[in-house]
Symmetry: C2
Subunit: 317 residues, 2 copies
Amino acid sequence: MSRGGIDLGGTKIQAAVVDGDGRVIGEARHPTPVEGGPPAVALQMAETMREAARSAGVEPSALEGVGVGSPGDVDARAGTVANARNLTGWLDAFSLSSTLSDQLGTKVKLGNDVGVATMAEAELGAGRERRSLLGVFWGTGVGGGVVLGRKLWKGRGAAGEIGHTVVRRGGARCSCGRRGCLEAYAGRATMEARARREVKRGTHTDLFKIMEKRGRTRLTSGIWARALDRGDPLAAKLLDRAVAALGTGIASAVNLLDVEAVVLGGGLGVRLGPLYLDAIRAEMAEHLFVAGQPPDLRVVELGDLGGAIGASLLVRP
Amino acid sequence: MSRGGIDLGGTKIQAAVVDGDGRVIGEARHPTPVEGGPPAVALQMAETMREAARSAGVEPSALEGVGVGSPGDVDARAGTVANARNLTGWLDAFSLSSTLSDQLGTKVKLGNDVGVATMAEAELGAGRERRSLLGVFWGTGVGGGVVLGRKLWKGRGAAGEIGHTVVRRGGARCSCGRRGCLEAYAGRATMEARARREVKRGTHTDLFKIMEKRGRTRLTSGIWARALDRGDPLAAKLLDRAVAALGTGIASAVNLLDVEAVVLGGGLGVRLGPLYLDAIRAEMAEHLFVAGQPPDLRVVELGDLGGAIGASLLVRP
């Protein structure tokens, strides 16, 4: 029986319909509404799911269920999401599960966006032959998922925050307000802030020229990749710094958990991972306690659809 | 039915006999032989176990079995220990399990010393109401154990190395040869090396005077505690540095695993933990991503016997 999955992101809503073998048989994507708050987002999510179901030739109500990977504080039991800070006006708890369920006529289950994406890789992607896996999602922030014994480890609900592993006590200021976190060096938001400060100080870079030419207001993964292609020294320097922090933070996590594999995803991870895997491995080697058996480090295989596919796993019978 | 447990340490062998309810009904302790290699150590372990059994009024062969918490690379399936670097002449794999079993007339199972001590706290000590727990053993080095869903997580066999979490990329040299590890700041061995360097540079401290007065050649936990009591500034400075690293490394682990509790053990942890728990909590608060729900941080409850009690859990029916 088919299942639906929705990946709710800060910029886009990705929906997929997956058959019993985990194959994607329908999908749709729309921008995330920036006005109207949670109800508007929920309506757009339902519409995107209906579109994906149509493209798969099934009625939404005929789906086994729909899973949702959401940012913010997800209370799976209550079916609510709160503090989704990368979405507009979504701080109070909103009953996303029941709202979507009413719209789609099937059961809806919620999960953490990064957690479900990690489970998708663990079951169907780059980690499918592994019992233990660390997912590292390198994008605007740096998120993580921990799969141990083929199950997502959630702790008290907030596990996986590898982006806030300290790589340098007293170091750079992070977007979370603390100091020295991995994300303070590798998150796209902090990398962009750093680039802007360097430009103010007179450092030359093509990063913002490329951004303007593309009509963007943020340094997207594609812009970083393009600048790097052009040999932009500031882009190269900030990416080297990010990669050093990533290798350090991942090695600390591996020393603690001794996982079999690490999969790298996220906007920057998918775009630049293949280029930087060896550099990350080299940095990890500086810190791995058991030097002789590094984990397998790979880029995610399910790419952009990983979140939606992972969400669909939440409603597996 | 009673079970035996042996904690094999670098300086002492501690044996205990535990009844079906986890109560210690007999115990014995002897120094670890520094000559004769693994066979001599195994003989002394058997003798210590016999003595503990005698004090419990049971024959060793009548025990359900004997568990051993060992340093080094433990291969539980093969029953061997290799690379026990804090023991003399123990690099090659030695069949500890079958040697002891022949001596004692009952089955013998091996486990990692820090892992079994963490399980003891999880089942019978400071973590007994917790489903997830991080054990941090602050002594000569800094070891760790990870209990998730009431089970010890071993990874590929080497999980728990929280001492080699990087707290400062490019920072102090660790006893493992790498840089910036938690143990480079908090391990008693590296703290002593640092104190010796400071003395060479002319810094005043009573640490080594107390050591000589006690007829020791190493700065034991008791010596650090005594110097601190006397208001020795170098001792206070190096312990503050250790505590900052501990709080940082533990916070990184909690951000990743979101465990319910952290228990602090080891020579320094047992001796100085009560004094420093608040300082460790304060440092953790600087780095915890979910600031509102820090894990419960406590000192181990089973003290010196935790390792032997934990080892006895290996042979539970």
